[in-house]
């Protein structure tokens, strides 16, 4: 449908919906109104359902939810937002719901908009290498779809469990297994369809001008109004994501070291080659053989000779760093680790059972490489102070920064342990900011710390943008709020 016709159609829906309402201020049955939009099967106010949506798998305390709604179409999303805007009901859009920092657990109640019914892979353009997907498409389903229908292409898959959504990962500025080569998932966004809190449906990127979704520019960069905003500016219903060549051969090469201070140099040298697919750093205090710094480099290639060459080059580079004394190649990698490193997605969630407690949360810092040693030491100190065994998985994002995870496993059945994890997270967040790092997907408390430290003019700009886009403040309120 051409842009003008689309606009007309959306305006008709807005007008029809608004005019259908009776006297303003009259009692409105929210539940019945929502049922009238999506059908009764996809609205719930049952305590059992809202209980699950009022908490996530991290250590954040639960917060009440009034309604869960599962829209099936963009028109339904539009009508829900129009209704919520009219009645000033908070709306929190939810993808996989697995940020672990409770970003999509409402802070002020209202509606959780679970997008998982909108799970169509609308188009894969092989030649222009992009996929147009709905907001509820899971990482796993896109990966499986590409493997089956477009085996030469891949998208960047995060370490998160496979049921999480692609769009969610992009909107929280997440990263995936090809981030070191191609950038953050949010950098891979070509365009979006979004529903504004006031009901308008907009297309961003080339789809605003053409019927194709192959590029984000060159027009004003509007996707940025929805990336990193945690759903406070609107609901993304479709997203065009860049796809990349999928090499046939993959291998992992692991280096180990005990020199924390050498980490920045090692990362710099290993990323200087620009040949790696993925790159992460791990350690674990127990068992003893894991208590080292492991540099895990994933290499991929289209030809066996190419892969062999890359392996050889990385082995040679290791010999040059610190005259060959800083890192050494790990020979005879344990088969379980070998699999874990090469699996896409890896089963990283098992970390939640390290202490047989079902709980895991991490405070994620986006750091420049020079800040890693200080954070490495501090993370261990915080873990020990709270009686925990330290463990890390950090992913090098591009050749410019690293996602440094302060990881804390906890026992969900032990309130004191949960409180300790929260305290550890808070201490980590404060240290990140003190160290000139940035907190990634920060919880409500972390956001308060960030906003407090933020340049007041920037905070004012955020506030102005939010006000302009969401005049009644219905979208995931409580996030990115300027402290008074």
């Amino acid at each position: 449908m051409p842009p003008a016709a689309r606009w007309k159609r959306h305006t008709e829906i807005i007008n029809k919906f608004c005019h259908a309402k009776t006297d303003k201020g009259a009692f409105v049955n929210i539940y019945e109104s929502l049922c009238a939009i999506t059908g009764r099967d996809y609205v719930s106010r049952e305590k059992e359902d809202t209980y699950i949506y009022s908490r996530d798998s991290g250590a954040e305390p639960p917060r009440p939810v009034d309604y869960v709604v599962m829209p099936g179409t963009v028109e339904e999303v539009q009508r829900i937002l129009l209704f919520a805007n009219e009645e000033a009901i908070p709306v929190t859009p939810l993808g996989g719901g697995f940020t672990l920092s409770a970003l999509v657990v409402p802070q002020k109640g209202g509606i959780v908009l679970d997008m998982k019914r909108m799970d169509k892979i609308i188009e894969v353009n092989e030649l222009s290498r992009y996929a147009l997907i709905e907001a509820g498409v899971s990482q796993a389903s896109l990966r499986a779809y590409l493997k089956k229908h477009h085996p030469r292409l891949q998208h960047s898959t995060p370490e998160a469990p496979p049921a999480v959504t692609v769009v969610g990962n992009a909107l929280i500025q997440g990263h995936g297994h090809i981030t070191p080569r191609y950038g953050l998932t949010s950098d891979m966004v070509n365009g979006m369809e979004v529903v504004l809190p006031t009901g308008e449906v907009c297309r961003l990127g080339s789809s605003a001008v053409t019927d194709s979704w192959y590029t984000r520019g060159p027009i004003p960069d509007l996707p940025g109004l929805f990336i990193g905003w945690f759903g406070t500016t609107g609901v993304v219903t479709k997203l065009s994501l860049k796809l990349y060549p999928r090499p046939q051969y993959r291998e992992v090469i692991v280096f180990s070291s005990d020199d924390i201070d050498a980490i920045p140099e090692v990362i710099f040298e290993l990323t200087q080659l620009d040949l790696l697919e993925d790159f992460f750093l791990i350690t674990q205090e127990k068992p003893d053989w894991m208590n080292h710094i492991f540099y895990v480099v994933i290499l991929s290639a289209h030809f066996e000779e190419e892969l062999a060459m890359k392996i050889r080059i990385y082995s040679d580079v290791a010999k040059k760093i610190g005259n060959g004394k800083t890192i050494k190649v790990v020979e005879n990698l344990h088969p379980a680790l070998y699999k874990r490193f090469l699996d896409v997605p890896p089963q990283a969630a098992v970390a939640a059972d390290f202490r047989k407690g079902g709980g895991f949360q991490y405070s994620a810092a986006i750091l420049s490489f020079d800040k890693v040693p200080a954070c490495w030491r501090k993370g261990i100190e915080i873990a020990h102070n709270h009686g925990m065994v330290a463990s890390y998985v950090h992913q090098v994002l591009t050749c410019h920064s690293i996602m440094f995870g302060f990881n804390y496993s906890f026992n969900r059945a032990d309130d004191k342990d949960i409180a300790a994890a929260r305290q550890a997270i808070d201490e980590s967040n404060r240290f990140i900011l003190e160290t000139e790092g940035m907190i990634w997907k920060g919880s409500s408390e972390a956001q308060k710390l960030i906003m407090k430290k933020m340049d007041p003019a920037t905070a004012m700009l955020i506030e102005k943008i939010k006000k302009a886009m969401d005049p009644r403040g219905i979208m995931n309120p409580g996030n990115w709020e300027v402290p008074r």
Partner: protein, 386 residues
């Protein structure tokens, strides 16, 4: 409640909802309702919330617990060490509802029928053997095997036809077997699945005693649900039985019929019943039978073996229908998956799956394109009459 010491360990990461390649959501209630509360993780967290007193028993809580088909997809795909106990945890949560007397009406009625009539159909025991009328199937009298039919095969019209086919085939293959007819007692698999442990143990003990009295050592079951109860549960109660599902017997014998089987082309797919497949790891035998049928081209569904989607009848839902029908019901999705193979026949090896899928074929308006046949019916239909 049992398993209280591990239930908090669920991280709700969601691997349990998926297939091996993570391509499809494969948990029947979650697939239908899509709400996280209907996923295995959601159920785990709610059971724990109930233990802690954060949620109370309600109609919704009952619906969430009893719409689970105990299909064990979660057991197969969970990544945590406690995965083997997931179905046991869900069953234990149902047990606690039974203990408190707070059951959904459909479950209560089912259990009451078993207690009163010995079967869920409220039919007299005397009619239990009527399925065999006119077949000259011998009563059990020391033959090598007991052919155990179960409630569904004994009373349900569709399932009776399957029971007859199995009996006829066993006769054709000269297997030494007999049936109990009116003396057969419900195996209790669904009773246990619905959480009535006390009643289940009573039924199991009666069966075990009866089998001992009659010196029954080897049993062939028609129904994978009975096979499950006899192999996994009765053994823990002291039974000493050699139990086979009829497909295990046929798998060894079908080749002997080779020169009597039709050879005209036929395309067939196969639906793995959960109580044969995921619960008891019997995946190859039905496929071996199909492979032994000349002219039959086997078309595997994408979701097969451990990834097969449950028909929606497991965990007592065949009787309680708490999961319910509708376009997003697992049976209708499964039928659509079967249609994708291009096969004209969905073969099954379970009378409950047969009924569920046959209803779904009708609901999907595919009756002229897709037939549901039990493997025994299929083999029988391929036998040349002499």
């Amino acid at each position: 409640m049992k398993y209280e010491d591990i239930i908090h360990r669920c991280f709700r990461c969601g691997f349990c909802k998926l297939t091996d390649d993570y391509e499809e959501f494969n948990c029947p209630p979650h697939k239908k309702y899509r709400l996280e509360s209907f996923s295995p993780g959601g159920r785990m967290w709610l059971i724990r919330a109930r233990i802690k007193g954060d949620v109370q028993i309600s109609e919704r809580y009952q619906q969430i617990l009893y719409s689970c088909t105990l299909c064990a997809n979660c057991v197969t795909h969970c990544i945590f060490p406690f995965k083997e106990d997931l179905v046991n945890i869900f069953t234990a949560a149902r047990e606690s509802l039974v203990e408190e007397g707070t059951l959904p009406p459909a479950v209560r009625d089912y259990l009451k029928s078993i207690q009163t009539y010995g079967n869920p159909y409220k039919e007299p025991s005397a009619k239990r053997g009527d399925w065999a009328n006119g077949l000259s199937v011998p009563a059990y009298d020391g033959q090598e095997y007991l052919l155990y039919i179960g409630c569904v095969g004994s009373y349900d019209e569709r399932a009776r036809k399957i029971a007859r086919s199995v009996a006829l085939l066993l006769k054709t293959l000269n297997i030494s077997f007999g049936i109990l007819g009116a003396e057969e007692i419900c195996d209790g698999n669904e009773v246990r699945a619905l959480g009535e442990t006390w009643l289940f143990e009573g039924l199991a003990q009666r069966n075990i005693e009866y089998f001992k009295t009659r010196n029954i050592k080897k049993i062939i079951t028609l129904d994978p649900h009975a096979y499950n109860a006899f192999t996994l549960e009765y053994k823990t109660l002291g039974a000493d039985l050699e139990v086979y599902h009829y497909t295990q017997i046929l798998a060894e014998k079908t080749a002997a019929l080779a020169d009597r089987l039709k050879t005209d082309p036929l395309e067939v797919t196969y639906h793995d019943p959960c109580y044969l497949g995921r619960h008891n790891n019997l995946y190859d035998e039905p496929r071996k039978i199909l492979a032994a049928l000349p002219g039959v081209k086997f078309a595997e569904m994408v979701a097969n073996r451990g990834n097969a989607l449950c028909c929606g009848g497991g965990g007592g839902n065949f009787f309680s229908d708490i999961l319910g029908g509708g376009k997003e019901s697992p049976a209708r999705i499964r039928v659509a998956q079967a249609k994708e193979t291009g096969a004209g026949i969905i073969s099954i090896a379970c009378p409950q799956c047969a009924k569920m899928l046959e209803d779904a074929v009708k609901a999907e308006d595919l009756e002229d394109k897709l037939a549901v046949k039990d493997i025994a019916e299929l083999v029988l239909s391929r036998l040349e009459t002499k």
